[in-house]
Symmetry: C2
Subunit: 354 residues, 2 copies
Amino acid sequence: MMVTEQPTESLAYSAPDRGQGKQITLAHGEGGRLMRRLISEEIVAALGNRYLASLGDAAVLPSIQGPLCFSTDSFVVTPLFFPGGDIGSLSVYGTVNDLAVAGARPRWISLGLILEEGLPIQTLRRVLASVAEAAERADVQVVTGDTKVVPRGAADGLFINTTGIGEQAAPVPPGPTSLKVGDELLVSGPIGRHGIAVLAARDELDFDPAPTSDSAPLVGAVAALRDAGIPLRAVRDATRGGVAAVLHEWAEASRLTLSVDEADLPVTPEVRGACELLGLDPLHVANEGTMVVAVPAGASSRALDVLRSVPQATGAARIGHVRERTLAGVVVRRALGREHPLDEPLGAPLPRIC
Amino acid sequence: MMVTEQPTESLAYSAPDRGQGKQITLAHGEGGRLMRRLISEEIVAALGNRYLASLGDAAVLPSIQGPLCFSTDSFVVTPLFFPGGDIGSLSVYGTVNDLAVAGARPRWISLGLILEEGLPIQTLRRVLASVAEAAERADVQVVTGDTKVVPRGAADGLFINTTGIGEQAAPVPPGPTSLKVGDELLVSGPIGRHGIAVLAARDELDFDPAPTSDSAPLVGAVAALRDAGIPLRAVRDATRGGVAAVLHEWAEASRLTLSVDEADLPVTPEVRGACELLGLDPLHVANEGTMVVAVPAGASSRALDVLRSVPQATGAARIGHVRERTLAGVVVRRALGREHPLDEPLGAPLPRIC
């Protein structure tokens, strides 16, 4: 006997199809039946685990040993999808990486969604699938969440906040105040990829090949350094403001000068070409899966060997060193061997990249 | 010798004054010097504690005993300020209350800000001062944060996400699946105040006296019940969807019928008047400092005594009881003693109330 497929009740909560597919409506955020169904049929269905599925106001998690690491990040990137990633995976890796570079093993994250009325349900589904895949890849669980809907025009499609808890893993890098003259500076891969990928996607710039974001979890790379016993001074993911922002912060914290050699910076041909065209310095362009690492003098080749053995850091490179403080906190040796102070911009060249 | 007061450098990051005071600019969100100064001079200055002041990517917190509670909430209320509260205090109490009703002692919260370009710095300062005061009142620390700026028109002034960690305090209320026939239902105070206050402020309705929000921490009230040894079945703050949403959820979880007597519902004259005028049922209107509590038969008068001894719950009342399941999950005895099923609306009458 044939069974005719009926429209499932699970789609009945959507707004009428006006040629753009089902959409988020204000009613999805108001605490009634529509919201409960959106949460159970879309969010829990995509991300489900026993903590999230209980749908309580708070997740009750097992105790963890020792200090907790706690980090939050909101994501407002436009466009929502770009080569190499999307707001969903970005929101997982962003928080997970903040925990990892602080010396923690990320365990759990929360997911706060602010949806704009009219957002296609299909877009939400794609983003949630990406969150789920990224959480799996970074080995964290989404254990609690919240969903708000704002009227058309009151938000830009979809904003995400993730907040993460990690357990501290010993030894913890002591941070930039521990930097010493002679320390060596590494990056875990080619720089500036995320910012250029988002810019190209947003402005529909026709670069060929299209630049792709480096968006990825750094958990494995940090753990590999720790497990190999590499002595670490400081580790930081180079997000907004790029590698330059990390170097400026470290120079300020250490009161030393950080010196970088332009010729040693790993930059892909796509990023180099786009930066030349647009007049940007790759040092100032955001990354979302690339970190700066400072190790004591002499430790850089072992550290590079370890990093290059990890999929997210095969392109790791030594980019410079720490020396006595001179006038500028950060200097770059440019073409012809001339040293120039590196600007710390007031803002940054690229808004809305995370 | 007189010293002429110079404009302090601390204001130099603000946009030019165009008659509306200093404003947030896109550059405040881009990882450069302006962002660092906004964070240190406004956010850390307002909320400072040793965790936040370290300005790392993640806060490192002391270990806590036993299970962790973890909860997130985003706040998109409009207007940002309303009688009885504002988005700042609301964002603290919202998350703290979710932890408290889950049986936890709230300890730490994160603060994720999404600012719209053009937001007056003065508005941000007021909100941050309110966050600080609310955190003090609820005995939690803001230990980590994030700030993003989106272009004018891409968000509605200011959105806040807070995510909280609490430590579980024994005994934990077992939750709505534990409800039994005869259990008694209480609320901790007059219902519907938050939703009506926000609605009146938003639509500039001239009620006299102006309705005020119940926005407040419930931590003390839940702790008082626990400390007094009151047996608790389930506790829930009645936010979006109001008391009705809690009753519907509990009816579904317990497969019993929850019966409420309209005459017993505590409702202020302002809320009653506004609801009559607007055709709203106070049961469906949001609260932000009022909870529903289920206790075993016979425990309600002791529970009420305890609640009424706490400043946030002086208006606590018994509103109904649990009985064998009949057709409707939630029934209300209305005027003339007639029982009516209580609707579970698809959405809710009032958007943007939290």
